[in-house]
Symmetry: D2
């Protein structure tokens, strides 16, 4: 696609860690062009290169580095020229107002913020899991909005839900317990000081367990044309921060509805594909779930970039007599790619292909 035909996207919250992932993922994107970088008033007016504390692998794309950052408001973004939609990596408290402003004015919002996730008429989309939920955005017109907001799940939820989906489809799920070992980047650049985490771990992440427990049921719920009916299984999370840069690791214990052997679970995960793979979307990984047979994998440093950070990696699948149809395993995913920016880019691709943008 020639550059002139690409869809123009603005990026709100462009300077943070997730913002930087967006910038990298949109570099040379097949159908999107990043045409505006927006952030807080403090960054506005600076070159992106100077405003962002660049901290991910690879260099800032030359052109973006030189771009002027504008304030993340409808007015300031529009002044920069025509855009087709926005990506939002805004902090949740800011997202509430700003995202609505864009949606109201007819600009689709593909958001990584948590502000609207649990609203009835807003879908939380994982392309491989619940692409049919997209349709609920039509209900947002009742808010008086000319366009809509599509949200991402929380990064921890994303990894978990991808692992659960083939099991839900094939065996049914009664109960899920998940204990996480989450990476530092999930808390942002300034989130965890070095003095608190060296030779240590922190067995608490504010609001995380609640998010995981709620979002999973919504995303794995069914859309009946009118509303999303949450999945009815039970879920319990215990969330912990460990001294790892990127990649959330999750120990997952599941009570299935139907009996499934270790091999049947592995097989269900290995063959799992979704709409992004069918539609051959640019950011879709070939395999959403990679199952490894080594006894000590997945490991975050080694496996986080599987499928360019868009695949999750599952290992150590074991039958678990704690439940009648018990199974346990380890899942790992890249929290700022699959768990954030990458999932949003995939959502935008899906929304375009399905005619929403």
């Amino acid at each position: 696609m020639s550059k002139v035909d690409k869809l123009k996207a603005a990026l709100l919250g462009a300077t943070g860690m997730v913002g930087q992932r967006f910038v990298k993922l949109l570099e040379n994107h097949e159908i999107f062009e990043l045409s505006v970088v927006a952030a807080s008033p403090m960054s506005a007016g600076k070159k992106y290169r100077d405003a962002a504390h660049w901290c991910i692998e690879g260099e800032i794309p030359e052109e973006i580095g030189e771009m002027k950052v504008v304030k993340a408001s409808l007015e300031d973004v529009k002044r920069e020229g025509q855009i087709d939609f926005v990506f939002s990596a805004l902090p949740s408290e800011v997202a509430k107002t700003v995202e609505a402003e864009f949606a109201k004015a007819g600009v689709p919002v593909i958001s990584d913020a948590s502000a609207y996730r649990m609203e009835d008429d807003v879908p939380i989309i994982i392309g491989e899991v619940n692409p049919d939920h997209l349709e609920i955005v039509k209900k947002q017109s009742r808010r008086g909005w000319k366009s809509f907001i599509i949200t991402n799940p929380n990064c921890t939820s994303n990894v978990l839900i991808l692992a659960l989906k083939p099991l839900q489809d094939q065996f049914g799920i009664k109960r899920v317990l998940v204990s996480t070992m989450q990476a530092l980047s999930g808390a942002g650049w300034f989130g965890v000081t070095s003095m608190e985490i060296l030779d240590n771990l922190i067995p608490y992440i504010k609001n995380e367990e609640e998010k995981v427990e709620r979002e999973a049921l919504k995303i794995l719920g069914s859309f009946d044309g009118a509303r999303i009916n949450p999945a009815s299984f039970k879920i319990s999370a215990s969330c912990h921060r460990v001294n790892v840069l990127e990649g959330h690791t999750e120990a997952i214990f599941i009570e299935l509805e139907a009996k499934a052997s270790r091999d049947e679970v592995a097989e269900a995960m290995r063959k799992f594909k979704g709409k992004p793979q069918e539609l051959n979307l640019p950011t879709a990984p070939e395999k959403p779930i990679i199952v490894r047979d080594e006894e000590d994998r997945p490991q975050p440093r080694i496996d986080r970039y599987a499928g360019k950070g868009m695949s999750i990696v599952v290992g150590r699948i074991r039958e678990d007599p704690i439940f009648e149809n018990g199974i346990k395993f380890i899942a790992l995913g890249h929290n700022t790619i699959r768990g954030a920016a990458g999932n949003a880019v995939l959502n935008a691709e899906l929304a375009v292909k399905e005619g929403y943008i």
Copy 2:
């Protein structure tokens, strides 16, 4: 007690990390005197100072540093003079033969090795949990042994079981799921290379899950005078290594028999005491379980030395709707003190007080 009246102990496996903890705990011990340090043939003949790669806080006790290491065999240890009992921190494969040799010859063995743990006539003792199991050592005479072996649980089991005991007593337990974040020292000095763990975690520890699942049921089982009947609840473990020097952290999910509120659980743990506290044993912590109310504790670097490493620390107690009477919390304990050398020293103190040594 004057030095001449102290019980003389030999330490088998004195040079390793757990061996070093024994050395420190026995420095100025009220009733024990470390009189022989024994290790592998490679170390035999060297000064302890030169044989041990000292790696724990504090200095080698001057007198021990100058002691000559002997080979960990009955013959070599006996040649050094009269001893009253031995502590064993031997590798399991060596322990099998060597510990039996001592027990047969009439020397009590207080062991941290796993070799004999699951034998029917060998107790795994946590002083606060199952001191009554001690009596089963009498059955070991059927082996033709003049004395006996008392074992320690695995370090991860130890922390878990201490946390479970007051709940078992007061509310009953139906099911336990535990997901661990274990310290490097659990694998020994050479166990984990720096290249494999930096910016990483390893979601697998060989044989650990099996040990935790088996040992907990035996220790929390009941001794009927003839044999130990394992507890009948179900248990499932997922064990993981993280980049922390000392201190195992465990996320524990429990289905109780009877309903218990968050506060009732905290209260049961806080008031929990056992025989070591009753008998005022030298190594007994004042509180076996310390409950913290901060939202982000326990943390290994900060809490591992609670009760001089002999208390476990519990935090984040939450009611958990995943089960009818669900409860979840975080527990942490020092893996080479409470989880190894300290527990063994406490066992020896108990065995003395109860007349076994």
Copy 3:
């Protein structure tokens, strides 16, 4: 000394990391009693326990934990009752005004802040190195001050200067190059984020090289009764942050005036003592410099608490043909004890013994 006879000290900047070290060092101090804890307006009014984010080993002393924090101003501190002097761990920009306020009002200030270090009439004291410089505080009366300020060197300088002192005395120094590997705590709790230092190092510490280069010459200079004449050798520093909690390690290359063998250097350091040792001051370590012969020491995690954090540890002394009389070695010291709070407490003890307080 009964509590009633102890000198009463206020601590300005009590909640930060150096403040916490002061609190610990003054717990059960022989001749000082911490009677007021003062900090920023944000902390004022809270209990110390709630205001301080306690992050060093050991617990907050019970009594201090319950103390109310007051604002770090003369007025607020005085309102709490009579004090004999203040310790200051204030940020430099605040220290400039507040410390002067106390000195002017007749309250001696023992400061760890850098604000006044390079003033002509203010001494930077290391008890073992330049106790005679104390006398220059008398000149501060020209400022219209009824009392005086005594300062500490920067933490990196402190370690370096202690190592240099016996060499300067015995062999003379022509040139010093120092390359540091500094601990995280030197930057304070929030100074270094985990994301910037994991699997990384930062080869830059703002203003540090300048401080080291200036302060060393002043402290090793001579006081002629009127002024301090800086030492005349040359010094160059390169300062770097590494992923270590506490303990600054320094690779030091020296051109001596006179030839000295490896053994002569070791001997000079080993026998080195100063006024604090002569006067048997409570916080004085028995040996200001501990020389180790192992080929791989000193190491921060293992050696930082030598002499309760008040000794520096030197190792790997080698003759160095790069210079005619070249010598190189590694020195290590605890940056928040010897390099900060501990040095200040020692200075206060010295000032009392010498009649200044």
Copy 4:
């Protein structure tokens, strides 16, 4: 170049960390094909995939993963078919015999081992620094060898020497002091245990300082057609291990012959190019030295992959009054790419282009 025309290389020591880097660098190489992987007898007979404990980024190239590892001996390698030359990443003690065996039999050896580095007739080559030293390999025929050995410098030397070369050429060098902060990978997978380096550093690396001091002078020496005359400046190294995966950082202090400003030094480094750039060799980085102006760079995690790991990165260039013409700066390079496998591949490319292979 079609695969059939590529030069066939055997790789000795293929399973270690440097061996793995060779495997990655030779994947899809323009003119070389890796046709034999050889290692210790313990690995021989296994698939490469099973013999190597793969630990670097990216996957094992499919074809190599399936290759059978042979014993690293002339006989075993030859049995696999015709080869044009060998790369050696053997341990030094093995390299002494095995490399000679190949050279004697007419197979050129491009080695990363230290065994032959300091032999008079063996060059240590950095393509950008001393390509003219290659010619000395002709002298090796006196050993009765039909072919020759070309060696790599030690990884630490490599970074240092690249930084020194433009300064030597343009300003002359009198004295160099270097203090290193070296990555874990330099010690190999099992070289540093996690327990010794977490919250720590080790201020000693066996034999490293001697290697750096000797090799730099040889490589920066002049070849007069008969022998290499070492450079005559003085050099002193202090070498330290820090908790970083890859990338050696070096604080370098230099006394130049002629005055040079900060900008002149930066300019000399920026414009520096060598034969590999002239000849446009496949593995040559566009810029051997990248100079950064930020005050806190280079940093290993961020800068080690500059120029695909073949560029060194220099920052913090400062004039240094410690010497008449003093200059100091920080240099960083990827120790297993530029410092090992990458340099060897570049040497092989150079040797081919210059007609030696």
